[in-house]
């Protein structure tokens, strides 16, 4: 079969200019001609442009991502498939991944966020795993910005609207408001699924002659060029005109797809399966064939269409949601079709696997694209873009003049609790079903969510974290700190960190200082992941997060999966018993640099250090995590809470918020600890632990043996009052009122 593919009537003539209009460089366009030995057809040009877009090809990031550790005794599947998989014992694998949907969510926040959830779910059940938990990491502009409330309400509505409807609980997340995201919000969605080891599916095609099935929603003109034009270019006024590419999600169909695909997987008739995500039919078909070193042939006339008149270009590039592509075992198509029919879904045979390593597309009886697969996917361009630190690294500064810090620590504490970054996120997470599937031991509101696994003693702890303020000061240390925070969060719940997935949100990689931020971030994740022996098994890169030339601060988002040997030993983040002893353990002194305190108050005026982050000794961090896990499993601690936004004073306050009835705490601090840095500073790692009096001796021993320092101690009181040394003496109920009311108040709800 060596006749060249034909152009269709009405298609524009392909030349370099059209290639450039498709986002390709002149060199890339030349390369395409060399690969094909001819000028591409219009359809082929579209295909190359999406497949070689930053979003699909990772051309700026691929060589650096290899730095991150992706192997380990538990790793069953590292990067390369739709999601990573880790062996968590008892025959179960945890399959997980995080992904960005930043640009679509900025353009149409409800649908953008909803389809972000839909997409990450498909990455998980495509592996044969039942999705059991979602998380979301959100960054918005400041509340003063006119679009923030609308974006917040719509994004949260979209995440809930989709996740709730498919029956996957959203068990944790994080939300930050900062003017640095005024023009470019971040919406990162995480999903984790469970699969029996022997049932793991792959996206590697095999078996020449095996049929290719199309399952799910019909194809429309949604999101054409979403990947190449939206996610791989900066934002500007022109983005408005790209609006018709908005994708609309249908969670109801997704729910049917989940059940049907999992049931189909149990038949054993699925050879390979992949969702149609970015670049839809094109990427799913070429990648599945490519992984298997085979070819594929598709007949577009058989693709179910939502409306008549779609061109091959449109069918191939459509990003319509809720679609899957399956390579079936020859002779067992009927069996699969019966399963899909049960769930009212069509499974349509649209092609077959071939042995010639070409990606060949028919339309109207003619061949309209014929491309060798390896160069299209695996050998896509890879760049080593120049990287250089900026001349003068400037931490992000808010545009408003800040007030001087209050003279009374109690006043500062109340201001911090009212900050939307610290205040309760209940207004957000109560819009999410966090309990469906009956596994949620601890839902949103703590350091990490805890899930049980039915039928066994083990459980999982999940958290997602980022620290763009620290990353803006030092992209390396900030990334290290983010991994540490995530690891310590799961350890606080009593779980051992076992795996990481990451979403790397950065600006335009064509600028050397952004590339430098990116590389330093990856190096930070690498070092910290190695330290915690928590391999990075999946992830996603989102570049071009800029508006009008202003990049977001570097924002690597880390989702950590922790394993609990016994889910009933999980520890809460709040105090549970009056009379318990409280210990504060830390690995390093806190700093005000990058803290919420520094974001609220003018620190430098009082000579406080707001620049340096301070060093992080990863061996201490690891020792801390291990101590927490050991102590929890031994039943020595009743609660553990890590200090993050707002510092020690806020962490102690939060620990008093027992949902069953507020408690209090009393601390005597040496006077040198009564400074703003000690009370409100952040940085790695400080833990507030509580334990029954009879266990305190053993716990102190464990802490000492780990080489960690106890810097303060106190006790839990029945009376809901927080007393810290001579500087803070506040009514916990009043503090809780501030903490709970702040976000609804900002949104203007009663």
């Amino acid at each position: 079969m060596n006749s060249d593919p034909v152009s269709l009537p009405g298609e524009p003539a392909v030349d370099l200019n059209l290639g450039i209009a498709h986002g390709l460089t002149p060199e890339e366009f030349d390369h395409i001609k060399k690969i094909l030995g001819r000028i591409p057809t219009y359809t082929e040009l579209g295909v190359f442009s999406v497949m070689w877009s930053e979003h699909c090809s990772y051309k700026s990031s691929r060589r650096h991502l290899k730095m991150m550790p992706s192997r380990g005794p538990r790793v069953v599947q590292g990067p390369g498939e739709n999601a990573g998989a880790i062996d968590i014992g008892d025959g179960w694998l945890a399959v997980f991944k995080i992904e960005s949907h930043n640009h679509p969510s900025f353009v149409e926040p409800y649908q953008g966020a909803a389809t972000g959830v839909g997409g990450i779910l498909r990455d998980i059940f495509t592996m044969g795993a039942r999705p059991i938990a979602n998380m979301d990491s959100l960054k918005f502009g400041s509340f003063d910005h006119p679009r923030t409330k609308y974006l917040l309400a719509s994004v949260v509505g979209g995440i809930g609207g989709y996740g709730n409807c498919v029956g996957v609980p959203t068990v944790a997340g994080e939300t930050m408001f900062d003017p640095a995201y005024n023009g470019n919000i971040l919406v990162n969605a995480f999903c984790l699924g469970l699969v029996r080891r022997e049932d793991l599916l792959s996206a590697r095609a095999s078996g020449v002659g095996n049929p290719v099935l199309y399952v799910g929603s019909a194809t429309g003109r949604d999101g054409i060029h979403g990947a190449s034009l939206l996610a791989s270019a900066e934002f500007d006024a022109e983005s408005e005109s790209k609006r018709p590419t908005v994708q609309v999600g249908d969670p109801f169909t997704e729910k049917l797809l989940i059940e049907a695909c999992l049931e189909a997987a149990r038949t054993g008739a699925i050879v390979a399966i992949q969702d149609m995500g970015a670049a839809g039919l094109t990427s799913s078909s070429s990648e599945m064939a490519g992984r298997g070193g085979l070819g594929i042939e598709l007949d577009l006339d058989r693709v179910p269409l939502r409306e008549a008149g779609l061109t091959p270009y449109e069918i191939l590039l459509s990003e319509s949601q809720e679609r899957m592509l399956i390579v079936a075992d020859r002779g067992r198509v009927d069996e699969l079709q019966r399963v899909f029919a049960k769930w009212d879904l069509h499974a349509v045979e649209i092609g077959r696997i071939t042995d010639d390593q070409n990606w060949r597309i028919r339309f109207g009886g003619r061949i309209v694209a014929d491309i060798p697969i390896a160069p299209l996917s695996d050998d896509a361009p890879m760049y080593d873009r120049p990287a250089a630190p900026p001349a003068d690294p400037q931490p992000i500064e808010s545009s408003h003049p800040k007030p001087p810090p209050p003279s009374r620590a109690g006043d500062a504490l109340r201001t911090l609790l009212a900050s939307p970054n610290i205040a309760s996120k209940r207004w957000i997470f109560r819009q999410y079903d966090s309990i469906v599937q009956s596994n949620t031991v601890a839902g949103p509101g703590g350091d990490a969510a805890v899930l049980r696994i039915k039928g066994v003693r083990r459980g999982l702890a999940l958290t997602v974290d980022s620290n763009p303020r620290a990353c803006a000061i030092d992209p390396y240390l900030g990334a290290v700190a983010t991994v540490c925070e995530a690891a310590i969060n799961v350890a606080c719940a009593g779980a051992r960190p076992v795996g990481i997935t990451n979403c790397l949100n950065y600006g335009n990689p064509e600028r050397p200082e952004i590339m430098w931020q990116f590389i330093r971030g990856v190096e930070g994740i690498r070092d910290a992941a190695i330290a915690f022996a928590a391999p990075v098994v999946s992830g996603n890169v989102s570049f071009y997060n800029e508006t009008e030339g202003r990049a977001i601060p570097p924002t690597p988002t880390i989702a950590m999966v922790g394993l609990l040997e016994d889910f009933t030993a999980a520890v809460t983040h709040f105090f549970t018993h009056a009379g318990d002893q409280v210990l504060v353990v830390r690995t390093n002194s806190p700093r005000l640099a990058g803290s919420e305190y520094a974001a609220q108050f003018r620190c430098d005026d009082r000579g406080l250090d707001s620049r340096g982050l301070g060093s992080i000794d990863l061996s201490y961090e690891r020792a801390l995590a291990e101590m927490l896990v050991d102590a929890a499993q031994a039943g020595l601690i009743r609660s553990a809470h890590d200090v993050s936004g707002g510092g020690l004073a806020v962490a102690l306050t939060e620990a008093c918020f027992n949902p069953g009835g507020a408690l209090g705490a009393e601390f005597s601090l040496p006077s040198e600890f009564e400074t703003a840095v000690e009370l409100f500073g952040e940085g790695r790692s400080t833990i507030v632990l509580s334990a029954a009096a009879e266990n305190i001796g053993q716990l102190r021993q464990l802490i000492g043996a780990a080489g960690l320092k106890i810097v303060a101690s106190g006790r839990v009181t029945e009376l809901p009052r927080l007393k810290i040394g001579s500087v803070i003496d506040e009514d916990v109920l009043a503090l809780r009122e501030i903490y709970e009311r702040a976000l609804p108040g900002r949104i203007g709800e009663p």
Binding site: G220, V248, T253
Partner: protein, 81 residues
């Protein structure tokens, strides 16, 4: 004055609701159904003297709040009632 606003999913945009309703109607035996689109119907009472003024306000309301131009089409009628 009464303003009636009719909002429908834009042509070419997925309308999962419409599809579900179409299926359900067929299940109920209404086989003559060829297509269903489900949208919103908003009835506003607007105090205003001139129909022209109300019409102008209605257009602005649709654009600024009532319809989402990315995925929806709208039209409205200004009546007395």
């Amino acid at each position: 004055m009464q303003v009636k606003v009719f909002i429908t999913p834009r042509k070419g945009i997925l309308d999962p609701q419409g599809r579900a309703v179409e299926q359900a109607l067929k299940t109920l035996g209404f086989n003559q159904i060829a297509d269903v689109r489900v949208g919103r119907y908003i009835v506003l009472e607007v105090a205003g003297a001139s129909a022209a003024g109300v019409r102008e306000a209605a257009k602005k309301m649709c654009e600024q709040l009532l319809a989402n131009p990315l995925i929806e089409d709208y039209r409205f009628e200004v009546g007395a009632e």
